[in-house]
Amino acid sequence: MLRRLRSLSRAIKSRSDFEQGMTEELRFHIEQYTDELVRSGVPRQEAVRRARVEFGSVDSVEEECRQARGLRPFDELARQLRHAARLLSKTPRFTATALLTLAVCIGANLTIFAVVEAILLRPLPFPDAGRLVTMYNTYPKAGVDRDGSSTANYYERRGTIPAFASVAIYSYGAAVVGEPGSTELEKIAAVSPDFFTTLGVGPSLGRGFTEAETSLDDDNVVILTDIYWRKYFASDPQVIGRQIRVNGASNTIVGVLPPGFRFLSSDTRLYFPFATRPEDRSSTQRHSGGNSKQMIARLKPGATLEQAQAQIDAQNRALEGNDPEAKMIADAGFRSVVAPLHEDYVRSIRPVLLWMQAGAFALLLIGAVNLTNLLLIRASGRAKEIAVRQALGAGRWHVISEATVETTLITLAGGLLGLAAGGFGIRLLSILAVDRLPLGGHIAIDFRLAAIALLGAAVMGIALAVPIAWFNLRGHLNSAIQSEARGGTSSRAAQSLRHGFIVAQIALATVLLTGAGLLGLSLKRAMAVSPGFRPDHVLSGQISVPYSDWDAQLAFNERLLQDLSSQPGVRAAGLVNVLPLSGDNGKSSATVEGHVRQPGESPRGNYSYGVDGDYFAAMGFSLLEGRFLTADDSRRGRRVCVVDDDFAHYYWPHTSALGQHLFEGDQMASEDQGFTVVGVVGAAKQAGLTDLTAQGAVYYPYALRRDGRLSVVVRTSQRPELFGLTLQKIVRQIDPDVPVNDVVPMDTRIADSLVAQRSPALLAGIFSAIAVLLVAVGIYGVLSYAVAQRRREIGVRMALGARPGQIRSQFLAVALRLLIAGTILGAVGAWLAGRAMRTLLFEVPSLDVTILAAAVGIIGSISLLACLLPSQRATRISPVDALAGL
């Protein structure tokens, strides 16, 4: 079998050699025979004739030889391809419509699939990545769903969980790297020594971190990523042992990571040891995760996630015995969740992506239905020709393969165009900032995806051929041949098939349009949410402060605030450790003096901030009671704080919050550690505009919190963007080593926080616009055909006195019936889809009557427009011409 295939492939490869050789061989035979006849005494002319006659038809011998060599199917295929290409080029309008439809539909699917593949399907780039898990602490009853893991968690779990081969902890950060005057801010990560062994990929040069390097005295070592090594050390293999300056201190390079090493989507350039003080590792710090530290682990071969979870649960139960806060932690519903790393990382984006893929697929279905209808119409036009050919002996198989060749040719060509459209789609996605999605930086159409797309196109071609072949093979031979009409009759079955397709199309488009409407409305509602402050005219930026000395940091703050407020056009300037809606804000707890938790009442997590300068004025918070915090509070270290409306309402529903005492952390401390509430401000959105629960927030003086993170906000009188350069300059003047980045107006920041809502809404909008267009094309095509089919009938009726209006309304009635059926189906579909995508919606019911009505209105009016043209054409048919068969 294999040998035969090889012989066949040789014959195909050197096809012209094969043909030439065969002709030569046969000619040689005939000439030899002629010569022999001449030698035996036959006159030359007669010999030539006899040799030819005895040999028989050279053409048919050649054909038999080709068949013997297995070449027949290929010749037949080539012939059918030529035939199909000729037919397609004869109907350029049909061909262009079909190709455009396919390009758009396949392109849309390819684009979305590229995203789905990169984010959901492709395994993480580590060996046996399916065994990597992450862990996080959750306190659901305190309103804290995720709180990372603590250093204590890591040390307690190391080597004690049998299901894990290894565990590791890491945290992200930034560091100022380089010699004075030429520093760069680099993204860094602090990782425990077992981080690289857990992932299964370690330094390709040098070594990983050692246990000794997790002590703060001995942690001046660094591992470079390949990118950093290339950029700053020109891939110097002798780099191990050299020093780089990080945050003012010298660090020894001990390793270099291999090219392409990337943990999730992090842009980390340098890795440092996860070094901690012994007291950070103690069990009293078990619940101080705060979302900045995360744990990963690798499951042992054969161990399951459930086993790991059970072992973690058992350990937590055992450890709680010695936990001073055990009761409170239990009341908060504490649990440590083990989840697959990849799945957990993309969990937020998964439903959106799947819905987008469903939308793209619906588009493809509409396109395919359109094509089927157009192809069926084409087939009806050729029914007579095909019937005649069948009568003359064309076999079933021939009819089927001819239809398949034609449809596959179209879909493959459309698939190639779809690849181009997909490439364009990926570009469009990058404008939509899809690369900011988790794992979104790896989206690309590679060879594999292109192959999948073309394979899909081929499958679609075969699927499209089914109805065409069915239509051509149905026993309508006689009626088609006998029918006087040029194109043969349109059978009832074929007509209802076409109409059924139109109804399905309208229904699908209605679902898509309604879905897009729901997402759009949801985005609009989210954008209309007030963040709780006035984000207009506010410029914000993050400052990376390299000082380990707290007083130096405070001195920097003071100088910065002074310089900023002396600038013209600055109305107010303030500092905060973390900006709201930046995605970096975690929750912690505060203990209110005099508040006794009722039975069943969980401890509450709340957002806490350290603020300096005129933060509240700069952000535009509203003051409800008392006063704002000032720069003076921070400077003098006054133990005062401001709470927001939600916090005040929860703890002091009946009295004023002013003058009350609270403590940072989850227990009361000595009286001098307390804070007195001096003001109440309006509640602001903290994690996202679509936050539903109000968790409350407490604002402390910056100086009293020892949280080195720093963001600056400036309220300006002109457009805030214009102040960006001044801000950079002022910071550089104070300390040239301190970089400011992420300088963005606050309202842009808020709009960007909606990227997860905006992109799907926009994509769904594009999809449904295309869907509506496709429906219009489909209806137009089918109705035009119906009019052309019934020319004669219309002619007769007009000759008998029918008015144009009657003719027109006859066709409009057909369209209207289809439209109504499609809309009803579509409404049901829209309701189901809306219910299923409830998680994506914000303050929008799953079936919004206005949106549904609008969708139906749009599709209805466009469909009616699409059938008005052919109906109008019907009224202009001249009875004389129609009856004459012109």
Binding site: R3, F28, H29, G56, A68, R69
Partner: protein
Amino acid sequence: MGKPAELLPGTLDMLILKAVSLKPLHGYGVLQRIQQISRNALEIPQGSLYPALYRLEHQQLIAAEWGVSDNNRRAKYYTLTAAGRRRLREETAGWNRLASAIGAALSTTPEEV
């Protein structure tokens, strides 16, 4: 010598293999050789020879190579491959069994029944 006999179906392949096994031959040579070794008792329709040759080449029972004929013309010469030799042996044995069986059957006299 009477009228040449028609070939039984399936026997042409066997005869081609036999002809080619004696000496490499071009297509016309194969025809002549079959007529020669069958003492002109078999008639080969000329047109059916080539499809058979191409089929055998496709099955790699014979191999083809371009060479030069006696009268100095370019011609395609066929030789037997190892697989072809095996097939010829099998077919010859099969044919002999069949021929003797049929011969025995046809020579049966009433006494032997």
